[in-house]
Amino acid sequence: MYNFNFQPVFENLDLLGYGALLTIRMSLIAMVLGLIVSMLGAVAKTSGIRPLRWLVDVYVEVIRNTPFLIQIFFIFFGLPAVGISMSPDTAAIVALVINVGAYGTEIIRAGIESIPGGQIEAGKALGLSPVQIFRYVVVKPALRNIYPSLTSQFIYLMLTSSVVSVISANDLASAGADLNARTFASFEIYLVLTVMYFLLALGFSTLFAAIRRNFFSYPASR
């Protein structure tokens, strides 16, 4: 009979809590930068400039059809061979941003293409400037349309970020791995880690729902 021993886990909850904070921080940074990359990618892809579109196509297809684990190995171990070295933490964020940027590009492109041309013409007819049209007629409604897919991609990013522990970047999974190396209470540690990731996912989805209510809901009739 297996004897469960949660003692080492509970004695080191502060370590795991700190790890969770690092995962939250890393995910938030990757989400913000990833969103920027996605928007640039989507704009490039919907622009009429052919070579730019092809470049974005190659980026999106290569990233979406290879595992994140290989991407992070390539960035952390492969790139130094051509003179680009990064710390594990930097490599982790770069890999996450590049990864989520590819998925985000496709999601936002679909959002932009979901805006009927008539809307833009209507904006022009109302005398909106091109910047205003882009901001209020294209970007905001497009983001509203794709908000669910984008935020579930972001939550998936947070879960995927556990993989960065393989290059010893500092996060929740690494904190768990360190604890495991010291105490060998493997099953108990990973059980608690899994619960913590689940709570983080719930937290992020609550946060995204709140953002949606405050920024993307249609003005309510009062």
């Binding site: 595992p67 994140f68 689940f198």
Partner: protein, 218 residues
């Protein structure tokens, strides 16, 4: 001694593709059975069963695949089984695939107009016949494109089995890299092999999705 990255090393990596394919196939077949069960439970008449299936999906979609792999790997010892990377990876990926396929197929089953299953009930078909001859064949048509799309995610997911020590494509790459110190070439080769496996499936999924959309809007 540092080995060169020669055709022998490339061959070693290419041969490891078969383990990636075997693991993907096991997880997909197991996940198809589990997913069907989850999808049927999730759309069943019993509220308790529906809740259970929803909980299963939420847990497996709300936690990292890497943690699921570790839990099953170390969990084997808890239930008294010998620790075996292939078994652990197969079980974890099967559970993972069951949750995702269950959710995809639930959507497909619910997308079949309710009149279809009501008509089948009116013809006094049993639940079994109603599902087998009326609902599932129609749901299958809707489900096939996203299922192929998920297969890509599953193949990529098998790379994590390398972390618990199962020698598939990714781990073969790590082994060769440790011997040759050519990470750029080695991981580039491994990435290319994954791309060769996944890209045709991605294109197929997109093609089927576009055809389905045309069929619906027509």
């Amino acid at each position: 001694m540092i080995r060169e990255f020669t055709s022998a090393e490339v061959l070693f990596i290419v041969m490891a593709v078969r383990w990636t394919l075997i693991l993907s196939a096991i997880a997909f077949l197991g996940g198809a059975l589990g997913g069907l069960l989850i999808a049927l439970t999730r759309t069943s008449a019993s509220k308790g069963l529906r809740r259970m299936a929803a909980g299963f999906i939420q847990v497996f979609q709300g936690t990292p695949l890497l943690m699921q792999l570790f839990l099953v790997y170390f969990g084997l010892a808890v239930v008294g089984l010998p620790i075996n990377p292939l078994l652990a990876a197969a079980v974890a990926l099967t559970l993972h695939a069951s949750a995702y396929l269950g959710e995809i197929w639930r959507g497909a089953i619910e997308a079949v107009p309710s009149g279809q299953s009501e008509a089948a009930s009116a013809l006094s078909l049993s639940y079994r016949d109603r599902m087998r001859h009326v609902v599932l064949p129609q749901a299958l048509r809707l489900a096939i494109a996203p299922t192929v799309g998920f297969l890509v995610q599953l193949i990529k997911g098998t790379s994590l089995a390398s972390i618990i020590g199962f020698t598939e494509l990714t781990r073969a790459g790590q082994i060769i890299n440790n011997a040759t110190f050519q990470p750029f070439l080695v991981f580039g080769t491994v990435a290319a092999l994954y791309f060769i496996l996944c890209w045709p499936l991605s294109l197929l999924a997109r093609h089927m999705e576009a055809r389905m959309r045309r069929a619906i809007t027509r």
